[in-house]
Structures are given as C-alpha cells and as structure tokens.
C-alpha cells in the first residue's frame, strides 16, 4: 500500500489533541422547564456525574477523524512494483486477432502500467503492433502525459488480421528516445520477423513483458466436408495440458444448430471436431464458431460453396425417363428434389455450368468428346454417380469404377432356383455407415463386377451373397460411384425404400460444393460484411478493397482484405482468417526482459473513497448517538418507524387475504332485492316491479338505487340489501332450514322483508292458496307481534304522507311489527301485505305499465309508488322520521 499524499498523515499527530478537546467539552445539556424544580435543588451533589462525553463516543469520533485523515492521504492498495528505467515509457500492445479473446484483461494490464508511469511522472507512448483499420503501418505515438494516452488506449480495439511484426520492428527502430518498454504480448510469433521485433524492443531499454505462460489464442481452420459431417480443425500453440474445445455450428440468424466437442492432446497443435448435421440443416449453416471468448480467429464463415450442390440428371432413355413409377429418373427426382438443386439436359449442357454431382441413369457415355468432358470434370472434383441397366450391362464404357462382366445376373424367377437377395449391412468406413438396411429390400437383377484384388476396397455396399451393389473409384479430385441396379424398380426394391433416399443424400453430401459463378475474369468482389476483432460481422473499414473472385479463397487477412463476406448479396464469398495464416506458434520471451503475467498483479485499489465513506457513516452514527444522549429523539419515534416498516410488509399479505368473491361486488351500490321463487312469471314481475320502483325512487329522492338483485335464500349473502321483496308463491314450496335461518339472521340485523301474498285479500286475487302458503312458509321465521299499519306509523310518513298503501289491489290491511322494539330502533323487520305491489310498480321495456291496477286509476298507481318510496326510505333511514315526529316535544323538554 502506498499513499499518494503521504504528508497529510502528519495530521494524525493532532488526534490526541482532538481527544483532549472532546474530553473536556461535555455535551450540551437538554433544557427542560419543570415546575417542581425546587425539589431538585441540591440533588446533583449526591448523584454520580458523568459530565464528560462517554469514552466510546470519544473513540468513535477520533476514529472517524483518523479515517478522514488517512482517506485524504489517498492510500492505494496493490500498487505493484515500480517501473524499470527512466525517461518515457513505451507501451507496446499486440492487438492482432490473437489478443481479442482476453482483451479486457490486456487493457487492465496496460492501464496498470500507465498508472505506474503516471505516479512516477513519466510520459508514455503507445505502439500497437498491428496495422490499423485504415491500413496504416504500426507507428508509435509521441510521448504524452498518461491521462491523454489513456484515452488513446481506450480507443484501441483488437483487429481481425494478424500482427505485423516486421513493420512493428521498423517502428521500434525509429524510436530514438530511450526509456523503458512495457510489452503486452499475445505470445505468438505471428509470422516472420518476431526475432527482429524482440531485438528492436530490447535495444530501447529495459523491457517488461506482460504475457501468459502459454498463448491462449485458438484458431478455427477451414472445415472439410465428408459424407455425413463437416470436420472442423481447431489449432493452437501446443500446451502441456489437454485442452477441451467446443465448436458451435450456427445458422445465418445466429441459432446454434449443433455443438461438438474435441480435445486437443497435450503438446499437440490440432484437434478436429466433426459436426454431423442432416443435409437440410447443413444447408442453413452460415458459420462455425469456437465456443468461448469471441475473436476473429474463432469464427469461420461458410459461403455458398458449403451449401450448393447442383445435381445433373441424365437418363439413357430420354423418352420415358420421367414416366411415373417406371421412368428412370422418376425415383431419383423424388429422392433428391427436396434438398438439392436438380438440373436437366444433355451431358455437355450440364457440364457447361458448375455441377457437383452428375447422375447417369443407364446412360452409356461412348468414347469421344463427351467422354473426355466427363472424365476431365471428374478429375477436377466432380462426383459421377452411375446406375446400371440393360444398356450399361451390354455396353460398358470407360467411366466405370470396376470392370463389369458382360450381361446381367438374374436372381429368382420362374426358371431359377435362386431367390432375390437382400442387402447386407453397410461396412464401417463407407459413407453409408450407420444407415439401417430394411429387411424387405430385395435385389432381383444386377450387373456384376469382375472380381479382382481391389474390388473389396472399392465396394461400399453389398448384397447378402457378397456381390457388390455399390462400387466406387476415386479419380483425381473426383469420384465415380456405380449402383449395380437400375434407378427404378425394375431390378430391385431399393428405389422404393427410404434407404435409397438416404444413400443418395450421403453421396451428394460427399461431393464438393460449388460457389456461384466463379469467373476469374468477372467483376471484383467488394467487401460486404467483415469481421471485427471480436468475430462480429459489421460494415467494412475504409481500407478494405475488392478482390477478384479466385483470390478470395486464398487471400491473407489484412486491413485491405479483412476476413468477412465479399461479393453481391446472392453470391457471397467468404474470406476466412485461417485461410492465409500459418499455424500459431508460441514466441519466446523478449531477450533480457522481465516477464510478468498479464493478470498476475491484481488491479490497484484506491482506498480513499471507502475510508471517507466509513468516516461519514461514523459521523452519522455519532450524530444519532448525540441526539439520543440529549433526548432529542425518542424510542417512540424509532418504534414508530419500525412499526411503519412492519406495516409496509404486512400490507401486501393483507391484500391477498381480502379475496372478493367473483362477480360484481354487491356492496358497491345500494340495491333492492327479491327472493327468487322459481316461478318465472313471478320472478319477472318482481324484477320489473323493483326496477320500476328503483327508477321512481331515483327520480324523486336523493337515494340512488342500482338494478334490483335476485337472491336465493340460503345461498346469497343478504346483508348487502336494505329491503328484500318476497312474493309468496304457493308452488314454490316451503323455504329450507338454511333459508329460514338466513332470513332470521337478516331480520335480526336490521333488514326489512316485504312479504306479499299477492292475492288481494284472499280469494279475489290471482294467487289462490297464498294465505296457507304464507302460514307454512313463515313457520320458522321469528315474526314479531304484528299490528295493522296505520297512518300514525313511520312508514306512512317516511317520505310522503300516506293515507292508504295500495299496490295492484287496494284497501287490504298491511301488517307491521306491533310494539316499538328498541332493539331494532323501532324498525319493523317484516311487513306483510297482500296488495301485490310489484305488479303495480312494474314497468316494461317500453315504459308502459304491463299490469293494470284494480280497481284502477292513475292515483292508485301513484299511491302505490309513493308507498314504495316510503318503504325504501323506511328501509334506508329507519326511525329517523319517527324521531322527527317528536321534535316539538323534544324542543319543549330542552327549553329553559
């Protein structure tokens, strides 16, 4: 640990003085007014008097002061060793592709070196060893103060091309200022010229080399296509321990299609990872990426060459070649068209364009220009697949992998003892390895190869009796494959089976892909998207220039030709870093340099903020304690705050517990209710009646009633409704015990039930037997003693002053509770009548009254409504109006 401003520590000497000052100054007393102060006089002499600040508070304050002093002295932890040498410091940074994987670590190390130079007051210069994006050769900056250089260093990015050692050495040779060198190395030689580079560095002054023990850079080479997989080599500088690598196959939109692992053996430079993918997926491959830290070296871009495999089809019998089920090309088309591009035409036409596979179905190629053309194409890498047939059996030509015996062999049939042969399993090492042979595939005719020593090696598939079914021969870069059967079902069941499709796919996958129109003299391909140092595709830098098509595959990555995709949208060519790169080779340390690990020294930490922050916290504690000592805040305040916090936490669960049952909440609005009798007619009258009454009440009074609610006794909660209308229907049946209990509970807690027998006084009404029903229904109800409703009752004057209480019928007695029962504020819990009020109140959708009143008249209707209003007011306000009756008496009693 070092101090940036050590002289400030002198202030620590003053701490004992502070201690003494704090000790002799007692805390200010709290002022209290107290009438009984006379009783307190003289008491302090007897009490113990801690007039001084308690020692722990003193210690707290002195500690805080000490923290402030030490913090202002700016201590720095892990500051590392001092820089060697004097004069300006030259910071040499490798910023090629190999540095990208651990770039942040390198930047931290470089910044650490700058920190040290800054503390030593030395100027710093920077030399990046790779040509920059504009193509400029490596060049050292002039020496400058550390803060300025820091921003330059922050702008430095790893490149996607290799380090230029020669140019860097030249730049070092041009450095004439002496000083010392700090070299952040990627550990690779990166081509020729490393030795000169190292010597140039050593010539300047003492060198500190920051490097890893083994270079960590890994490079993905160009993949190779095999029959069923894509083999990707991974190379690195040899390491003493085995290295596990994982390779991801990614599609154009960045999805990972496959992940394969490989292990690079100790002291080995290379391992191969084989990516096995179905052809459909393989055709969507856009790049292969090394899992781990991203860099340009860990990405291989795949262009059209890896995907497009056009197949040309030529049949011997061109007239019937596409006849369904029997044509020679019928099954081939069906098998290949889903995943390959098929081309038709004669051999010459087909070979005039790029072609990956040429399939000749029993088509004999006679000697001549056509034969030469095909042979030349095969030698250059074409895959020729031939199917046997009567023509081939009769006239074998020169483009066959094996010499055929004349004629064909018939297996089974009326004149033969032999049976059609099944296929034997595919041998390991053939492209068909791993395919399952269906047991029902039989071969009844075939052409036979002339047995010789090479035949076994040339055979990829056999029949059950060992005779070859598929033979092949490599010719130049290409290959000729022969199926000893016809491509239709004439000679075998093979074209009918799924195996045929799989075999053809494997063979097509084995062939070499073709790029777009590779015209050597075509227009140059401009860079479209290029990789940056971290392996991300982006716009090309200014220095990037176009390339001729054939050069793309061979070019070495450089600022002019960064790795990436070149060419137009429909014909991208990939330029990969690995194509023009030597295998990575570990570089020796710079002679005479002191070597430090890159991440070895932990980053230095400034302690000042922490110390000052702690001091601040201590001062805050001191403030609280001082306030507490003076009694300026109370335990109650703390308790209140704690309670508030506890409340905050308690609120959320409380919310969860108050679950409201589903449906509209009946507590939100006042509404009347009627008891559902089960009789649709009666229920609709009740509904319409209460709706009409609610409207009337809303128009005539300050009460606001919502639409009436139907309630089922014993199921619904009745407590939301001030008034419940119960039309007695003889057919409804007596209410259940639960219903009776609910009604009793409702009435006992202030509810009002309006029971309506709707019979207009018995006999004359439309509801016969309601009286008897009323008796049975109300058997369990706690009905109080009843009395006829008179004009003196509150119900007769709750809103309107009423003389009678008509409904649809008039003049019948209405019964209410007899006595003024104090327990329920003299409010009758039950009102029993037979006037069929709901019918009188009912209004239909057109606003008409559907039920005529008896005997009739507008006045009766109005009176019925007025009774309803009084009823609602009675239910809502209780005996309020009853009290109003006594106002004169009350005033008199209160009088003086």
């Amino acid at each position: 640990m070092i101090f940036a401003s050590p002289w400030l520590l002198l202030a620590l000497v003053a701490l004992p003085l502070l201690w003494w000052l704090l000790r002799v100054t007692p805390p200010a007393p709290r002022q209290e007014v107290f009438p009984a102060v006379r009783l307190l006089l003289g008491l302090n002499a007897t009490a113990e008097t801690p007039a001084r600040t308690p020692w722990w508070l003193l210690a707290l304050r002195v500690l805080a002061a000490a923290l402030v002093i030490v913090g202002l002295a700016q201590p720095v932890l892990e500051a590392g060793t001092r820089l060697a040498g004097n004069g300006p410091m030259l910071l040499v940074v490798d910023d090629g592709w190999a540095s990208a994987a651990d770039w942040p670590r390198r930047m931290t190390a470089a910044n650490g070196a700058i920190d040290r130079a800054q503390r030593a007051g030395r100027e710093v210069a920077l030399l990046a060893t790779t040509a920059n994006e504009s193509g400029a050769k490596p060049q050292a900056t002039p020496p400058m103060p550390a803060p300025e250089l820091r921003s330059r260093l922050a702008a430095l990015r790893p490149k996607s091309w290799p380090v230029d050692r020669t140019a860097a050495a030249a730049a070092l040779d041009g450095w004439k200022r002496g000083g010392s060198v700090v070299y952040v190395a990627d550990g690779l030689t990166d081509g020729a010229g490393y030795d000169e580079f190292a010597q140039a560095m050593a010539a300047i002054g003492p060198v500190t080399e920051l490097r890893d023990e083994v270079p960590g850079a890994q490079l993905l080479l160009q993949p190779r296509a095999t029959a069923d997989s894509l083999v990707v080599p991974v190379v690195q500088a040899p390491r003493p321990a085995p290295t596990d690598v994982a390779v991801l196959a990614q599609s154009g939109d960045g999805r990972t299609l496959a992940r394969v692992t490989a292990t690079i053996a100790p002291d080995a430079a290379q391992a191969e990872a084989a990516i096995k993918l179905p052809p459909e997926l393989r055709n969507t491959l856009a790049r292969v990426v090394l899992e781990g830290p991203a860099s340009a070296g860990s990405v291989v871009l795949l262009d059209e060459r890896w995907r497009r495999r056009p197949v040309g089809l030529v049949a011997g019998d061109e007239t019937t070649e596409n006849t369904p089920l029997t044509g020679q090309l019928f099954y081939l088309r069906r098998a290949l068209s889903p995943y390959t591009e098929l081309r038709d035409g004669d051999v010459k036409t087909l070979l005039s364009r790029d072609l990956s596979v040429l399939i000749l179905a029993d088509h004999v190629v006679p000697d001549g220009p056509e034969h030469d053309l095909v042979a030349e194409w095969v030698r250059k890498g074409g895959m020729l697949i031939r199917f046997a047939g009567p023509q081939t059996a009769e006239h074998p030509d020169g483009l066959l992998p094996v010499t055929l015996l004349a004629g064909d062999r018939q297996l089974g049939g009326a004149m033969s003892w032999s049976q059609p042969e099944p296929l034997s399993p595919f041998a390991v090492g053939t492209p068909f390895d791993g395919l399952t042979v269906p047991p029902d595939v039989r071969v009844s005719r075939q052409v036979l190869a002339e047995p010789n020593a090479q035949l076994a090696g040339q055979t990829w598939a056999r029949l059950g009796d060992g005779t070859p079914l598929v033979t092949q021969k490599a010719v130049g870069a290409g290959r000729i494959v022969l199926f000893h059967v016809t491509p239709n079902a004439d000679w075998s069941d093979l074209p009918l089976s799924g195996l045929f499709v799989d075999m053809l796919r494997r063979l097509v996958a084995l062939s070499a892909g073709v790029a777009g129109a590779d015209d050597p003299s075509g227009p140059p391909l401009a860079p479209a998207e290029v990789l940056d140092g971290f392996g991300r595709l982006g716009p090309p830098p200014i220095a990037a220039t176009a390339l001729q098509p054939p050069e793309v595959a061979r070019a070495t990555a450089s600022p002019q030709h960064p790795p990436g995709l070149y060419g137009p949208e429909n014909g991208r060519h990939a330029l990969n870093l690995a194509a023009g790169l030597d295998l990575p080779k570990a570089a020796a340390a710079v002679p005479g340099a002191s070597v430090d690990p890159i991440g070895g020294a932990p980053a230095e930490k400034a302690l000042a903020p922490w110390l000052l922050g702690t001091a601040l916290v201590l001062f805050a504690i001191d403030l609280l304690v001082s306030l507490g000592l003076r009694g300026l805040y109370r335990g109650r305040t703390v308790g209140r705050a704690a309670a508030m916090i506890a409340l905050l936490f308690a609120v959320a669960p409380a919310h969860a517990q108050n679950a409201v049952p589903p449906g509209p909440n009946p507590a939100l609005q006042t509404r009347l209710a009627y008891i559902v009798t089960g009789d649709d007619q009666i229920d609709s009258i009740s509904r319409a009646g209460l709706a009409g009454l609610s409207d009337y009440v809303n128009r005539r009074s300050a009460a606001t009633l919502a639409d009436p609610a139907p309630v089922t006794l014993g199921e619904d909660d009745l407590s939301f409704y001030p008034l419940i209308y119960w039309p007695i229907s003889p057919d409804a049946g007596a209410p259940s015990a639960a219903a009776v209990e609910a009604l009793n509970d409702y009435m006992a807690h202030g509810g009002i039930v309006l029971i309506d027998t709707r019979d207009g006084g018995g006999g004359g009404g439309l509801a016969n037997g309601a009286e008897e029903a009323l008796q049975t229904f109300t058997k369990g109800l706690t009905i109080p003693q009843l009395t006829p409703l008179t004009t003196a009752h509150v119900l007769a004057r709750a809103f309107y002053l009423l003389q009678d209480f008509p409904g649809r019928y008039e003049g019948e007695t209405v019964w209410v509770q007899r006595d003024q029962d104090r327990t329920n504020d003299s409010v009758s819990p039950v009102i029993i009548g037979s006037n069929d009020w709901a019918s009188a109140w009912a209004v239909d959708a057109q606003g008409r009254y559907p039920y005529a009143v008896i005997p009739g008249g507008t006045r009766q209707r109005t009176m019925a409504y007025r009774f309803g209003v009084n009823l609602v007011m009675y239910a809502l306000t209780g005996n309020y109006k009853g009290d109003q009756v006594h106002v004169p008496a009350l005033l008199e009693r209160l009088g003086q």
């Binding site: 007393p29 007014v33 107290f34 009438p35 102060v37 006379r38 006089l41 007897t46 009490a47």
Partner: protein, 301 residues
Amino acid sequence: MSGADRSASALDGARAARRAETLGARLPPLLVQAERVASTVAQGVHGRRRVGQGDSFWQFRPFLAGDPASRIDWRQSARSDRAYIRETEWEAAQTVCLWRDCGPSMRWKSRGQPVEKVARAELLLLALAALLLRGGERVRLIAPGTRALAGRHALDRLADELPRTGGEEGLPVETDLPRHARVVLFGDLLSPLPEVQVVVGRLAAIPVVGTLLQILDPAEAALPYTGRVKFQGMRIAQEVLIPRVEGVRDAYAQRLAEQQEGLAKICAAAGFGFSVHHTDHPPEAALLSLYTALAPVTGRR
C-alpha cells in the same frame, strides 16, 4: 376588552360550565355537612334537626299561650280537643369557598399530556361547584370582590368570574371568609411547607375547614427524564443542572413524598382534608374524593 372578546369569553365560560356540569352529573347532589350553625348561613335546604324557618314539616306542638293564633294548624287541631301549632324544620345552606392556583407553575404540562394543571383544576372547581349548586349550597371564589352565589345561573356566573380572578401566586392570602364556611383549595402545592402551614393556620383560625387537592402532572410525579438535563423553574429564575437525571429520580421521589406527607400532616392538624390528583388520571376520581370529603358522614349523626 372589546365586546366581541367579552362575548367570546362568556361563551368559553358557559362551555366550561357545561363541561363541568356533565362531569358532575354522575354524582348525586352534594349536600355539604354543616356541623355548626353560623350566623352567616343563609336559608338553605339542609334540615338542621331543630325547629326553625323552613318548608319541611318538623312537628306539631300544643298551642301555648303567647303563640300567635295565626300559627294554629286548624286541620290538626280539628282532630282533637286541643289546638296545635305546626312547626317546620330549620333549613340552612352552607357557603363553600373555592380557590384554585393559577400561577405559572400551574400553567404547565409535560410533553404528551393533554391538559395543563390549571385546566384540570378549573374543571374540577366548576364540577364541584355544579354539584354544590345542585345541592342548594352557595359557592364563592376566594378572590377580592367576589360574593357567594346560589341559584340556577350561579354556575355560569362562576365560570365567568373564574378567568377574571386569579393571577396571584402561591396560596390565597385573603382571609375575609365567612366563619364556619367550607374551603376547597386546588393547586400544585409545591411551595415550602411553612408557607402552606401559615395559610392553613390562618384559615383554621377564622375558623373554616376544608380540603386541599394537590394537582400534579405525571412528569412531576415520576420525573421521567434521562441524561443530562438543565431544569428551569417557572416562578423565579431557578435553574438546576442535573448531569444524570436517572441518578436522582429516587431522591426526587422521596422529596415529593416528604412534601406530600408534610401537607397531609398540616391538613390533618387543622382538620382539613388532603388528596392528590394527577392530570393523567380521570377527573371523576378526584371529584369523587372531593365529594366524599365534603359529603355528610352518616356515622357522625
């Protein structure tokens, strides 16, 4: 004082009187026991167990020569041969003199207390007055220029008078009290004991008897402060710095107990009653204790 102020203060007085009445409403009308007949005692409702002026029937006695003929009770005389005179019981009212300390030390409440001591004292005074008035007694404030009040509106007048009196500190100096009256003194009674002794002795010499009620704030009773506190008195510039209040709490409690014991002793010697009331206790309790102190004791009859 402007008219508006006067009407406002009258309103306040009426409100205080109502409040005191409701407080006293729960106790039966207080009948102060008048043990001695005093010339100052005006006609009241106390039966004096002897013949005199009054409304209640006391006895019939035979007509004696010299009695005016108009006093003969003819209805009683008609029942026998002799003439009888109807005699009534002498009824008299007691005057109760009330006083409350309204010095600065009374106008104080500790933190968290709802009422000042003086507010409680006035409430109790008015409640007691209401009780007494309902019992037919006469009440007066111990202050210059006051006189005994009785009747229906006496409580309101008392409540009006209350803010105008007072202002004096310590115990009442006026001794111009009717003999054999009853005295009720409300105050915090924190003065030195000799001062109290002098006043009580002077009162007892008139002679009057009565009750002292010490009204204390709970903070004065318990000294709930902690830490280093500088206490300031209210009457004189008294200050005392207590470094650690917790340390002197017991000593303070003992001093307070001594003060109260001394007060009780002084009161007992003069035939006075003494009780203590804290402002955090309900006033009904204090009123009840005053009631029992003033009410006639059945056993002494």
